[in-house]
Amino acid sequence: MASRRDFIKISSLGFGGMALGLTACDLFKQTGAALKGGASVFSRVPTYCEVCFWKCAAWAYQNKEGTLVKLEGIENDPHCHGRLCPRGTGGLGMYEDSDRLMTPLIRVTENGQQTYRPASWEEAFDLIERKWKETINTYGPESMALFKHGSSGDHFGTLFKALGSPYSTSPSYAQCRGPREVGFYTTFGSYINSPEPTDIRDTRCLVLIGSHIGENMHNGQVQEMADAIDKGADIITVDPRFSTAASKSTHWLPIKPATDLALLLAWIHVIIEEGWYDKEYVERHTVGFEQLKRHVRNMTPEWAYGITTIKPEQIRETARVMANASPAVIVHPGRHVVWYGDDTQRTRAIAILNALLGSWGRRGGFYFPESKSLPSMEHPPYPKPRWSWDMVMGDKYPLAGSSVSNALVDASIPGMVDEQYRIRSWMVSGTNLPETMPDKQQFLKAVEALDFIVVVDTMPMEITGYADVVLPECTYLERYDSLRSSPGREPSVALRAPAAEPKGDSKPASWMAKELGKRMGLDDFFPYEDYSEVLDWQLKQLGTSLEAMKKVGVKNYERENPYLYMPEGVDWPFNTPSGKIELYSSTLKQYGFDPMPNYVEHPQAPEGFYRLIYGRAPAHTFSRTSNNPYLSDLMKENALWVNPKVAKLWGLEKGQKIWLKNQDDVVSSFPIKVRVTERIRWDSVYMVHGFGHQRKELTRAYGRGASDTEMITNVMVDPIMGGTGMRGNFVTFILEDPKEIG
């Protein structure tokens, strides 16, 4: 049966290859110049990077023809200290990519076939206005949801609030770091947020639980980890894979996957039983110590050994190393922590361990970040939605601190939610949902049921194929955006100004949001003709101006709150029900969850299957960079890491292409090359996330490598906050092309 919303391949229209003028490379070949970035540069414009969420501030350099030729970090930027990562340096490729979306597209049916036709902005907005008004008149603005990631989301966020929609959601919460936010909030009364306030620079011991800093190029953290290595800090890495971080570590614990919580509890046991905890800190600042002590009494290293395969003496030794470094020790909260559905409890255990070591609010542990609050221009009050974002979740996920993207997908499916609350219309900006959300079947059901989908992107990512209207956004190098006001050791503000004219008919999100706002009668929420006016006004309130900021890019301010660290000998107020660090969480207890973490056994791989572990490569961000000309040149595809023992068993050879099949019989669309390596345990396989693109119009990324997301059909949802645990999937190998086998 024909679907109401077929996945449309934009390339069939010939937009994919639409070349607009010369690339910088061509220019130089013509002029015979040997250098590109190295050629004389004439001017520079400040920006902050949008290739990942770290948002490093950079100078975009132009040559005398005005062509953008290179990006370099801004020296006094606390996010990058003048040094971008490969993605930031290669950010130029986002701008140069010849596969970019260049014109609005509207879904039409021609000869019984759904396809896109190029449209003017006027036509695209006409259609959106008509459909949105229909939906709002029939079901109310509460039936509209925004899925967003990155800077563009700010502008559409304003639009959706102005419309009266309660739903503005980012997969970065429930598909990434949400559990740690709740784990730390219930313990310390503070969120971790981004960038993490980890004082790695001055730490004496950094503990990484599955966190692969160095492969995830969270720039500031990577830089500080290198500093810590220089200073001789201990690094303890817990990972079933010999990650880059593991290779830099003084201690590597090659743990059996899915058992981290047992190790954490055993560490807590040792540190309490041996009396290695920070006694004064624990006495002054925490509640529930006695309960915790009783709770972990039997959770000995010997108990944990049977679960984790980490030897008891190694558990004791590493606990000792942490205690010796205390309070200059960081048990890192991690970032992508949605693993097994008990992730809030695991990150709680991490928070508790930090509390016992006295690292929260201490030099070399966690500092108290400060950010500059930005003034906002006056606008009418936002209308109050008839219900709030948590309505669609009912009694589920009571501690979710932000809307849960997967719950909104569910709430878009008939029968999954009371009909009057069903979501009818989506706007998706800067997030490639089919590659971001696990359990694609749910996504497809939602897409089939929705009345209308608008997608905003710079590239023809998979999500654009599900849209009714595609709006081409210009890249971060071609637009103004909100000021970056980031929390850090010192407050810092950075400017993003356009360094090039938008290519083709692409436009900035600030303009799209304003124009759509006008059509919906919401002009007053967008008090600008050009977004630079807002920036200039804000900057003037902060004692500078747009012109002045263009010359410096980054402005760092002195702290207003003097306490970068907790003063000694003072009862510090914590924002928890007890006002103390809660080793025993009264909040979790109140909602019927374990007030102290317990180890729960998770399924292990069935025979012939291997646990699928996925992660990051320094050259790429999610699925969004795999088509970038520079970054795809650096890493074209992912490979499947297989232990030599497993390879021998299956007769697999290096470079051999195989297909994956998971526990639910889902077979990968594309094959993946085998990488035989000792760096992975024999019960697991590993692949880098973000490859195996399905869209031919992504000419460099199409069909290269395989998609881990495709294999993630078993999702273990965290009952506390709705995080989608994705590490409980197992794969086996298919050696012949399954399409040929039939």
């Binding site: 880059t244 290779s247 320094p618 050259a619 520079y630 040149d633 650096l634 760096r679």
Partner: protein, 177 residues
Amino acid sequence: MRYAMAIDTKKCVGCGDCVVACQIENNVPTGYCRDWVTESVVGTYPQLELELRSERCNHCENAPCVRCCPTGASHIVEGGVVLVTPEMCIGCGACIESCPYDARYSHPDGHVDKCTFCIHRVREGKQPACVSVCPTKCMYFGDLDDPNSEITQLLEKRKWKVLAPEAGTKPHVYYLI
């Protein structure tokens, strides 16, 4: 003056920023590179060691590529930097064969190309592009004849190695280990 590079393998995470920065700085065509990252793993799980190395032309003191070049296109300039003059290069490939580091490639324009230590930047008092972007600051560039240079001091303090010492090329890229 003897220019050299030292790369700290204890800090390098193999991110490849050096590769991208070089490509953009020097307009290296897509699909080619003047520097690259090598990973070597020793041992069996879980007794493992990993070394990541950013590699490039070693700007050898005893450079086989210069000796075997029939036209003089490959030559040595100030600081011992080995360069190729594209206009003089006939693309015979003898230098590519002779290099024990596989540091040279045939540029699609018909000449041989390789790392220049970013001599155009060094002449302006800047660091080579790869060194200047490295997020972990694991790369050091300087003059071995200057006893006060950071690189000279690091090589005195730290353990180091060079690649393929048996080739007798006297390379100028050092790896701190």
